[in-house]
């Protein structure tokens, strides 16, 4: 009965130009897995300014956006280079206001999750059993308390988060935006539903039939998506389950690169400003490099969705 949905495919350049504006609140999610790095780089290339960047685990891509001069404010629950070291630019901004101060709003992981849940569900607040006795509410006035109407219990709450745009990376989508993710699915669905606009960057755009053979695999339905961008290897240096592995060497090298302002500027000039787009970045890394991150096959066993036999 219904025909295929509208075609929302765009280039990454066009999608960022259309949906990311100076001063916007931009959420980039992906918990270690499927980090939307290529989108972060394109935002830097297009010279966006005064962004409020929202990301639970502010890691390398955030440090790069800070170095690119795009970010006025950061909303996050973890600011570090995974377990591999520090973020040099972020620490200079926070510890020394160098080159300028960074407005920083700090939460715990579940605090961020609950902000997305409230945003996606259009709730005025979301309760959670964290923060009691922590110093965080003292430095973050958004973390407040509510009394339960079912007893004398009190509980902390966080307000909704509704980004102007959320950007996620995923394994695959159809042209209308039905997006499938496997492996770690994180907070991606909630971050998309909480946002005004959503860009989904994928390893590959696939035929409608592929998506429709397994509707339970669709983590984000088309009605929540505004742009679909095909951008293979767009999550590097993070990984895409079943597509390529994590570039752990790059993670380990980042502390050294970002600690030194000149080294960092040189890296940005060469790898972000010096590449026209992510395809060039990928080509510059070279085939041999990518062969080192290649993964083998571990296929899921198919399930039967069934087909009606009667008339």
């Amino acid at each position: 009965m219904p025909r295929p949905g509208p075609d929302k495919t765009m280039s990454l350049r066009d999608a960022v130009a259309a949906f990311v504006h100076d001063g916007d609140t931009v959420s980039l999610e992906g918990f270690t897995h499927l980090i939307p790095t290529a989108a972060g780089h394109e935002i830097i290339r297009q010279g966006r300014r005064d962004l409020t960047v929202v990301r639970m685990t502010a890691d390398i891509v955030v440090d790069q956006m800070l170095a690119g001069g795009c970010v006025r404010k950061l909303v996050s629950s973890f600011v570090g280079n995974s377990s591999a070291g520090s973020l040099g630019e972020l620490r200079r901004r926070i510890e020394h206001a160098d080159p300028e101060p960074l407005d920083f709003e700090e939460y715990s992981h579940y605090g961020m999750i609950c902000r997305y849940l409230a945003g996606a569900q259009r709730l005025p607040f979301y309760p959670l059993r964290s923060y009691a006795g922590s110093d965080l509410p003292r430095v973050n006035a958004n973390i407040r308390k509510v009394a339960s109407p079912y007893g004398d219990e009190q509980i902390y709450v966080v307000p909704p988060l509704n980004p102007d745009v959320t950007i996620i990376h995923a394994q695959r989508a159809d042209r209308a935006g039905n997006t499938q993710i496997w492996g770690l699915t994180g907070i991606q669905a909630e971050a998309v539903y909480a946002a005004e606009k959503a860009i989904v960057v994928v390893e590959e755009i696939v035929a409608d039939e592929v998506i429709r053979s397994d509707p339970n695999r669709t983590v984000v339905p088309a009605h929540a998506v505004d742009a679909v961008v095909e951008c293979p290897r767009g999550a590097h240096p993070s990984f895409a389950q079943g597509y390529y592995d994590r570039d752990n060497a790059f993670y380990r090298s980042w502390s050294g690169i970002s600690r030194d302002k000149e080294k960092l500027a040189a890296w940005m000039a060469e790898w972000v400003h010096g590449t026209a787009d992510h395809a060039e970045y990928v080509a510059k890394l070279g085939d041999e490099f990518w062969a080192g991150l290649a993964v083998g096959e571990a296929l899921s066993e198919p399930v039967n969705y069934g087909r009606r036999l009667q008339k």
Binding site: M1, G5, Y193, R212, P215, N216, P221, A222, A224
Partner: protein
């Protein structure tokens, strides 16, 4: 010979012009939405209460959870995602509802006839109707029977309140509540909070007096009550040949 189901489906389908998402139960709403998809709303997506988005059913579904809605669908969501993110999140343009009783403000009763504590008739209750009312941008109601037992001066029980009752309870509503009621006699409509349902259109042959007599409150009537164009041949052909060829719901 055009049946009443056909007329209601066609008239409801026209009201979906330009809409993008509709929350629809099985029966006439599905027929209306499917027909609209082929005519006035090519990008329309039907979202089912069971969690199915972008269904491509091989057979006409018998329930909102029919297996044929799932196989080949674009997405299937859990209940928290469907009700929390899609519906309460504000992604539904039009919700379709039915009810045992409706009042002039578009408030609905689907719980009981009589007193809730010791009802004369226990009806199925809210289901998701309260959420559809509270969270859709607007709500269409299809009522086959237009009579004073269903169009009442005062509800026996308000299951699914419109925005006027929400406001009186201190809560600012999201959507407009019921904007269209499509019946065997014609169409009642209202713009949103503060407005009563008014008779705005009649099927050919139906009269304002019939509508007044069939309504349990003093029915307001628009200055320019239009006559509803009967289903066109193209609309009927699509409905009969493409949407419900087995005439499962086109009784």
């Amino acid at each position: 010979m055009t049946t009443s189901s056909e007329i209601l489906s066609v008239v409801a389908s026209r009201e979906l012009a330009g809409k993008r998402t509709v929350f629809a139960g099985i029966g006439l709403p599905t027929l209306a939405a499917s027909l609209a998809h082929l005519t006035v709303a090519p990008d329309l997506e039907i979202v089912y209460e069971s969690g199915v988005c972008g269904a491509h059913p091989s057979h006409l579904p018998e329930t909102i959870a029919d297996a044929v809605l799932i196989t080949g669908a674009e997405a299937v969501l859990s209940m928290p995602a469907l009700f929390g993110y899609v519906l309460q999140g504000g992604h539904i343009d039009v919700g379709f509802l039915g009810a045992a009783q409706i009042d002039r403000w578009g408030n609905l009763n689907s719980s009981v006839i009589g007193d809730w504590q010791s009802p004369k008739v226990r009806l199925p209750g809210p289901g998701g109707a309260m959420e559809v009312m509270a969270n859709s941008r607007e709500v269409f109601v299809v009522m086959r029977r237009h009579d004073p037992r269903s169009f009442v001066d005062e509800l026996d029980f308000c299951t699914s309140p419109g925005p006027d009752r929400a406001l009186a309870d201190g809560v600012t509503p999201f959507g407009l509540g019921v904007t269209k009621v499509i019946t065997e006699l014609g169409i009642l409509a209202r713009g949103g909070p503060g407005e009563e349902l008014r008779l705005v259109a009649l099927h050919p042959g139906a009269t304002v007096e019939q509508a007044r007599a069939a309504t349990g409150w003093p029915l307001k009537v628009a200055d320019d009550v239009t006559v509803i164009a009967p289903p066109s041949e193209a609309e009927l052909r699509l409905l009969r040949e493409d949407v419900d060829p087995e005439r499962v719901y086109l009784r």
